[in-house]
Subunit: 301 residues, 2 copies
DNA sequence: TCAAAAGTGTTATCCTTACACCCATGT
DNA sequence: ACATGGGTGTAAGGATAACACTTTTGA
């Protein structure tokens, strides 16, 4: 008798509030929210996703995109009763609001503390990560050693290359191998960041990498902002997602120069300092290239 | 009784020979080769893919990557008997050899003649595509009209933007809407390129776009070349995939300068002209960035 | 008056692009 | 001799990154 196949739709639902990117998780279990794909009810996969998200959370999803389809047998050891589960992971954006149901917003840097360089290089990079990775490199024979060296250099940066914010997944996989995360087959010593069930943190890493990559050439940030915003808030939101500080002058010039955005004529009321002009996203610009590719302020080394 | 789900693994298998990118297709049906995922036999999706490819074609796949998962109910009208099919599309590279079984190599520009700019702008761009797209733009009311204008400009290029080789899928979808391809809901007038069954040409467009995008920052070309090659052959292969001619001097400088490649010390025997040095790919370079981002020789306008 | 944020101007540097030229071989 | 492809040098122009400075508000 052939094994039954079921399909789960996992969602990485992202919002930004208080200059902090957040992701919806089921809190004590440490899982991403998910729903079953129902071939009878759902005309397409995305329809299926939106159906269960609405039912479970009442959130209004904005842009949605497919991330990856997983089908490893040993992913989810619960279902070793003969049935088999595929899961299709999606990335979705929301303007933050309190969710219904058991899932809650969690800052995504709770899971990836080493990915937040907004206050400069995190202490754990020097104190924990680099020593551990160097030891892992040194532990290999000369052949394997050179491969590990290159991989470490690419992931954790060096004088010439610097830290590349997009390599979130590569770093997670490296740290998994090195034993720096709780999900590792052989965790050694102190373990970094909040763990998740199964391979969910790996999926989250994929999502963060995708978001960061998209920042440079697709207008994704605007999905996470209200209709009107100051240029400064736009910059802070990009910085929150990218995990680095950007150069103010160049940022504004780029954004305004690319005509991504137009002034509303109104000004933001609150806060200390000079009131800022409010801008809105120009929906009609599908933007050929280089939406937001800006220089990092303090060279990430 | 709930509907059964089956999962097909579709493959876009790519090779390059005689400076022509080719793709494996089942000839009279106009379909991409595919196999069923067998949850009992296949530990992972990629294992399943490799299994049926080996069984059906005897080809040795190199690098394999997932493209997209499709689940639309009305994709494949055959299975309207109650069962439901998901399909997961993969992109795979091979060094060309004759396939076993019913599938055959076809030049990918048979399906996308407008994507080959190696001999300059194809005649059908001026003669068929631009008039048809302009008519489609003009046919809309002023609101919709501006959207269509931008989309047309982005896809088919203009003075400032030029033709972007990566937008293969966007162009296919545009032409589908305009009625320029046989798969359109409402094809009008002459129809471009070889058609395929269902949405297979759309999948192929996705694959070509992915390959072209990857050229710039991942060492994919080398999967399609023999171990040793001349820089000129490397350039011709990249040009074949990208569909544009590249600048010789800059190309060599970039490739050699990035240390992507090392000289073997031997020389290619054949052909007219000075014998060229043979190079080999340096496997150990995972390459941080900018693998092959070279200037186009004749500005694509 | 000072802190905080909004804004603008300018320059050094590097990368991209394009052009020009010489080299080695077969016919 | 010349056609064909191999291979190198270099300069103009533009994008990027960094620095410096002025302006406008609230406390």
């Amino acid at each position: 008798m052939p094994t039954d196949l079921a399909v789960a739709l996992d969602a990485v639902i992202v919002a930004v509030s208080d200059e902090e990117p957040r992701v919806l998780v089921r809190a004590p279990e440490g899982t991403l929210p998910a729903g079953l794909f129902d071939p009878d009810a759902d005309r397409t996969l995305e329809v299926g996703l939106r159906r269960w998200v609405t039912e479970q959370t009442q959130l209004q999803l904005g842009h949605v995109e497919q991330l990856y389809t997983f089908g490893d047998r040993d992913r989810d050891p619960q279902h070793s009763d003969g049935s088999r589960m595929l899961s299709i992971a999606y990335l979705a954006f929301v303007r933050e609001s309190p969710p219904a149901g058991p899932a809650r917003w969690r800052a995504w840097y709770d899971y990836f503390p080493w990915e937040d360089w907004r206050q400069g290089r995190p202490a754990l990079v020097d104190e924990v990560i680099r020593p551990a990775v160097e030891a892992w490199v040194a532990a290999a024979g000369s052949e394997e050693r050179r491969l590990r060296e290159r991989r470490a250099r690419r992931c954790t940066g060096t004088r010439k290359a610097g830290w590349n914010p997009e390599l979130v997944l590569d770093r997670y996989e490296l740290f998994w191998e090195v034993g720096l995360v709780a999900e590792s087959r052989a965790p050694r010593g102190p373990v970094l960041g909040q763990a998740m069930a199964g391979d969910h943190r790996r999926i989250l890493a994929t999502a963060i990498g995708r978001v960061r990559g998209a920042l440079g050439y697709r207008p994704v940030v605007f999905e996470l902002l209200p209709a009107d915003f100051t240029l400064f808030r736009l910059q802070r939101t990009v910085e929150a997602l990218a995990g680095v500080r950007l150069h103010k002058g160049n940022f504004r010039r780029l954004v305004v120069g690319a005509k991504l955005v137009e002034a509303t004529g109104r000004r933001a009321a609150e806060g200390p300092g000079r009131p800022a002009e409010l801008y809105r996203f120009r929906r009609d610009v599908v933007a050929e290239r280089n939406i937001l590719r800006v220089s990092i302020n303090s060279p990430a080394r």
